[in-house]
């Protein structure tokens, strides 16, 4: 082989090395996994639409959650969301629609908390005519709304902190 072709192969090798690195990074860019929030019922339709769009759904942003609560409910609370401010799911937010939300350890709950101090179905947050309410579902360790134990449905206002086990949930608007 000639000197020139060897030199070309020599640099070709370096280019191939970097091609692998850049191709790997390219694959990583498209590799998203994790969770996103969708609504049940209407969600089925939204999910199909999301799948049809391929897997290019980015991080679970508000637009990707598929919840457009405005069309279901005209209440002001539609824009509210629940934010987990302490515990293992810290940082998670769930937009609140017109549907009640279950919190607990059971996988059927909306917000599944992996915490030994949580009950399977711990509490329920649901909308009523005068705003959101929270009720305890007979949990072992209790639900606390601003350090007050919740038994009967209590009003859950913006900025209220709800504590269950090691998790704290806040209602935000």
């Amino acid at each position: 082989m000639s000197e020139l072709s060897i030199t070309l192969l020599r640099f070709g090798f370096l280019i191939l090395l970097w091609a692998l690195v850049l191709a790997a990074i390219g694959v990583l860019r498209a590799d998203l996994y994790g969770t996103r929030v969708i609504s049940r019922g209407r969600g089925r339709e939204n999910r199909r639409r999301a799948d049809a769009r391929g897997d290019k759904v980015a991080a679970p942003s508000r637009s990707a959650t598929g919840i457009r609560t405005g069309s279901i409910s005209t209440r002001d609370e539609a824009a509210a969301h629940l934010a987990v401010t302490a515990g293992s799911l810290k940082g998670t937010t769930i937009p609140l629609g017109s549907a009640p939300i279950l919190i607990g350890r059971s996988p059927t709950c909306t917000l599944v908390i992996d915490d030994d101090y949580c009950s399977a179905k711990h509490c329920r947050i649901f909308p009523e005519a005068d705003g959101w309410k929270v009720e305890d579902l007979g949990s072992t360790n209790g639900t606390f709304l601003d350090n007050q134990r919740v038994d009967d449905p209590m009003p859950f206002k913006r900025g209220d902190k709800l504590r269950l086990g090691a998790t704290t949930v806040e209602l935000r608007g």
Partner: protein, 448 residues
């Protein structure tokens, strides 16, 4: 009712196949260039080599397709590429030794055997361990097994002392380094122990200077194993391994407890230990001196910094683009095929090639941490993070030592350097990471 759903994940097997094709090209081209410059290029032989590489890559790819379909798609190609570069380089150093030194070595062929054994080991791990959570049952068994493995080189008749370090055992006429496998056992032990006790470690205990420190009784078993391992390694004069072990321990503790106080105490302890070791042990003091005054004529003449400086000269002659595979003189550096393979690669591939190699390591470590974030159980999180730390620190200690960023300590470069135990142990790590990433990327509905 709103619900939290999983993003649908691409399995990425097709992307993996494409990346493997590039890795295969790198492997074969490297070997071809080396053979050409050794005036030894026989297309039949290169063909057999290329076919063998293709069989290994395709075989492992098919195993993943069948048994771990959601495993990370980048991990395997990156590791195969590093391994292929290492094989070509070791083969090239064999030629260098024969040509200039009259030394007849056959590291290259032996390393091919170790690579095959390593890939098979990784696939066996993927096949046998269907669920990494099962390893949690062996928490204490792994801890004890790890300590025994560290102890083996001290057993008379079994242990071997090579170059002043007593870290080898002789088995079936081969020398093995049990510490490499012990590293994995220790990661399993730490992960299992920390996942059960992290709450007590993080929350209970006295507060000193605004930092919370754990209670002695929570910390006991952990400290015991840790101190025993560190003392053993210091006794065996295996500085690199003790540094690596300490780093993995600290990293996992931080990941488990989120306490910055751990990092501070750990670094303080490390500083004390490093200074103490430098004054107490003469061989450690000599290492410091060879590091700080490497280019001093007197130190160089005494031979303590000769290897390091020759490696630096080699990398300097490589420059930006390297001399080209097979065209340098890496044989001038002692242990060019194992401890100093990074210097050999720096000489022949230049800064450009070395950066690509480091980028590949970065990708592998990033994938380990990403799997750690993605996987749903605490044990898997800690184990993936621990394995990621082990690769990252090992590369840092070796490359840092060779490039004179930190004092030189003997450790193998994962997948690149010559050495059977290290090759198999690091491939087992790949197997574990593939398994954990499979769990992490699979959606929750499929995990039963």
């Amino acid at each position: 009712m709103a619900t939290v759903a999983e993003l649908k994940v691409r399995t990425g097997r097709r992307a993996e196949l494409a990346l493997l094709a590039i890795a295969w090209g790198i492997t074969v081209l490297a070997r071809g260039l080396v053979d050409y410059h050794a005036a030894f290029l026989e297309l039949d032989e290169l063909g057999i080599y290329a076919a063998g590489a293709a069989v290994l890559m395709l075989g492992s790819h098919l195993v993943l397709r069948r048994f771990a379909p959601h495993a990370d798609p980048v991990l395997l190609p990156a590791v195969f590429a590093l391994n292929g570069i290492g094989l070509a380089m070791i083969h090239r150093i064999d030629f260098g030794y024969a040509q200039y030194r009259g030394r007849d070595t056959d590291f290259g062929t032996a390393q091919i055997g170790w690579t095959i054994a390593g890939v098979v080991a990784a696939m066996v791990v993927v096949l046998l361990i269907r669920d990494h959570r099962r390893l949690r049952r062996f928490t204490y068994t792994a801890g004890i097994a790890g300590l025994i493995l560290y102890l083996l080189p001290l057993v008379p008749g079994l242990g071997l002392e090579i170059n002043g370090a007593r870290i080898w055992i002789s088995l079936f006429g081969r020398s093995l380094q049990p510490g490499e496998v012990a590293k994995i056992a220790m990661v399993v032990f730490f992960a299992g122990f920390l996942v059960t006790n992290r709450d007590t470690l993080a929350l209970a205990g006295p507060k000193i200077l605004g930092l919370r420190f754990p209670r002695p009784r929570d910390m006991g078993p952990l400290l015991l194993v840790w101190a025993a391992a560190i003392l053993l390694m210091v006794y065996e004069r295996d500085l690199g391994a003790s540094l690596l072990f300490f780093g993995i321990f600290l990293g996992m503790l931080y990941v488990a407890t989120q306490r910055i106080s751990w990092v501070l105490t750990g670094l303080a302890l490390f500083a004390v230990g490093a200074v103490a070791a430098g004054t107490i042990f003469s061989h450690v003091g000599a290492r410091y001196n060879a590091w700080l005054n490497a280019l001093d004529a007197e130190v160089y003449a005494s031979g303590t910094s000769e290897q390091l400086v020759r490696g630096l000269f080699g990398m300097a002659s490589g420059g930006l683009f390297g001399t080209g595979l097979g065209e340098g003189r890496p044989d001038l550096v002692p242990y060019a095929e194992s401890d100093f393979i990074i210097a050999s690669l720096g000489e022949e591939l230049g800064l450009t090639g070395l950066m690509a190699i480091l980028a590949l390591y970065l990708i592998i470590v990033q994938r380990a941490f990403r799997s750690s974030i993605g996987v749903r159980d605490g044990f898997g999180k800690l184990m993936a993070a621990g394995l990621g730390f082990s690769i990252a620190l090992q590369v840092f200690i070796v490359v840092g030592g060779v490039t004179r960023v930190i004092p030189l300590t003997g450790l193998t470069t994962p997948w690149l350097a010559y050495g059977g135990s290290s090759m198999i142990a690091n491939w087992i790590i790949v197997g574990l990471l593939l398994r954990i990433s499979d769990q992490a990327r699979r959606s929750a509905q499929e995990v039963t």
